[in-house]
């Protein structure tokens, strides 16, 4: 039996849910059947009232906490906040974390086989939206016998899904936690996404998205896309204190090889990502981000768009996040206030930029855990 820390959920095994009822998508196309891969942590109580749904961000997936094997080097991507005694306390809550539709970690997406053609979906996979994702997540909840989530929680693009939950299924969500998110992308956000997409699409190995049929991967494009993305996840200060102007060797060599540590770091991040993530999925996910704008169908009035929401919100931002700045969170908070909704907002001082939402900064943990404690208390959930 491998040894894990006492506040870890330990070994976890992903499961797959299959859906045969067609899913009509916002783009007008329909998925006749699909699969969602997910993990669960903790135990669903007899009343089925203690379920918490985790929504992942751009490059995230279902593996949010614990380890797939004793040899796994790093735990799931949100292990800092999910586990016994952590903010999302698995002694009290039953946590569900899935890989979204269009993903490349087991759920139906561009790397799955299209049942109609017999070949991989590739670039033919339909464009999905946050609305589609939330729809598919609700169906997963149906299959798991969860009528109403105690809370739906997510950071960044995950926070957008939480927001959509409160609008599409207000009766199925008791609390909403929206972290480092925004009610819509800015022109600058879309611009960065477009640079990432162009990096991938202009790679000669991209083959209009049919790279798998050419037995290749647009690695250079994917690497560039990730490098650009990564810069927006860190703050200037965080990069400065991590790398400064440190060189890899003692002297300048007056060439274009890696000289500064920050170059080495970015290249490493890009390389790792380019061998583990699917390019078509990356393109798709960036479009999901671009399209989300619940206020658009209400004349741009977010407060009006929020009318259906009925649960308490916790909104959290981070002081040095320049991808989705604190003012983007305040935009959401102010619309919630204007709409007369229950909301609390904290702007956490952190040097870590957008990535801070993944980290266990003490004040962030205190506010998050405090909110979840109140959720548990209101629902009469006992730790065991």
């Amino acid at each position: 039996m491998p040894e894990f820390a006492s506040d870890s959920v330990g070994l976890v095994t992903p499961q797959t849910a299959h859906f045969d009822a067609p899913l009509a998508l916002a783009c007008g196309r329909t998925l006749s059947n699909y699969a969602l891969v997910y993990e669960t942590y903790g135990t669903l109580n007899a009343e089925r009232s203690n379920a918490v749904l985790i929504c992942h961000a751009l490059s995230g997936h279902h593996h949010a906490a614990g380890y797939h094997s004793a040899e796994e080097r790093k735990p799931g991507w949100w292990d800092a906040h999910i586990g016994p005694g952590k903010s999302i306390d698995t002694d009290r809550f039953f946590v569900v974390s899935l890989n979204n539709l269009g993903g490349c970690h087991g759920s139906t997406g561009p790397t799955s086989v299209n049942p109609e053609s017999g070949r991989l979906w590739g670039p033919d996979f339909p464009m999905v939206t946050v609305e589609d994702w939330v729809h598919s997540q609700a169906r997963l909840a149906d299959q798991l016998g969860i009528e109403r989530f105690a809370a739906v929680v997510g950071g960044s693009l995950g926070g957008m899904q939480v927001l959509q939950w409160t609008l599409a299924y207000p009766e199925r969500i008791a609390n909403a936690v929206v972290i480092a998110a925004t009610p819509k992308l800015s022109a600058q956000n879309i611009a960065f996404n477009e640079v990432a997409r162009q990096a991938i699409r202009s790679d000669p190995e991209f083959f209009e998205g049919w790279y798998a049929e050419h037995d290749t991967v647009p690695k250079r494009g994917l690497k560039l896309a990730r490098m650009v993305g990564h810069i927006t996840y860190l703050s200037e200060d965080a990069m400065g204190s991590k790398f400064g102007r440190d060189l890899r060797s003692d002297d300048l060599n007056f060439g274009f090889d890696v000289e500064f540590q920050v170059e080495s770091y970015l290249r490493y991040q890009g390389d790792t990502f380019s061998t583990s993530f699917d390019a078509n999925t990356y393109l798709l996910m960036t479009k999901v981000l671009d399209y989300f704008d619940p206020a658009a169908s209400h004349g741009g009035d977010l407060a009006r768009a929020l009318a259906p929401a009925s649960c308490p919100f916790l909104v959290v931002s981070f002081s040095t996040d320049w991808r989705f700045t604190p003012s983007r969170s305040r935009e959401l908070v102010n619309a919630l206030i204007r709409a007369g909704k229950r909301v609390s907002y904290a702007n956490i001082d952190s040097p870590h930029g957008h990535d801070a939402f993944l980290l266990p900064e003490p004040r962030y943990r205190a506010v998050f855990a405090g909110f979840m404690d109140r959720v548990a208390r209101d629902l009469d959930l006992e730790g065991h």
Binding site: P312, V333, R342, A346, R374
Partner: protein
């Protein structure tokens, strides 16, 4: 509960929509929600206070009062409360305008600088007063706009506002006949209930 909070609790109507500026750990809003069914928000910048509010289930928004209340519409609430924060604001007069834009009525409490102990401290010792309600030294105090019971009354008069109630808080209680007769001299904490000028 602090004396001034107990008195305010008494003044708040059932089911009111409330904005509590500098709400601290949310004690007042929490009690008002349970006892009187009020709804609303607290504004706070202290991290511990914000966490305590969130734990209680009190709606709290991290917001600096010196930035104003622009995110609240005209008449968004029935009542705005601000306890022991007026003296720490950059422009107390503008905040008073803001409070009475967001609601028709507000309740304000602040330390009365003309309290006899403060006068004696300054008059006899010759130093800036330090007391239970004013615990800071002159150089690190957040209280940059100290005022007196009379000062505040004059400000309201100049603005044409209506003072519907006034009281003083003293130590643990609401004071006695001396504080009622000479609030500017014997009141440690000034408590005002103010409405917009008659239209």
């Amino acid at each position: 509960m602090r004396a001034d909070l107990a008195l305010i609790h008494h003044w708040v109507p059932d089911g009111a929509r409330i904005l509590d500026l500098a709400c601290g750990d949310g004690t007042l809003l929490d009690a008002l929600a349970r006892d009187k069914g009020v709804t609303g928000y607290g504004l706070e910048i202290d991290p511990e206070g914000i966490t305590a509010c969130v734990e209680k289930g009190v709606n709290v928004i991290e917001q600096n009062l010196d930035d104003g209340l622009a995110n609240f519409d005209d008449d968004a609430c029935d009542l705005v409360i601000m306890t022991q924060a007026l003296q720490a604001l950059r422009r107390p007069d503008l905040m008073l305008d803001e409070m009475l834009r967001v609601a028709g009525e507000c309740i304000i409490t602040f330390p009365n600088f003309a309290f006899w102990r403060h006068r004696a401290y300054l008059g006899f010792k010759g130093y800036m007063p330090v007391s239970k309600t004013l615990p800071h030294a002159w150089y690190d105090t957040p209280n940059i706009h100290l005022s007196t019971f009379n000062d505040f009354e004059r400000l309201c008069r100049d603005k044409g506002l209506i003072i519907t109630d006034r009281a003083v808080g003293n130590g643990g209680g609401e004071g006695n006949w001396t504080t009622r007769l000479w609030p500017n001299l014997f009141g440690e904490t000034a408590i005002f209930r103010v409405s917009r000028r008659a239209q």
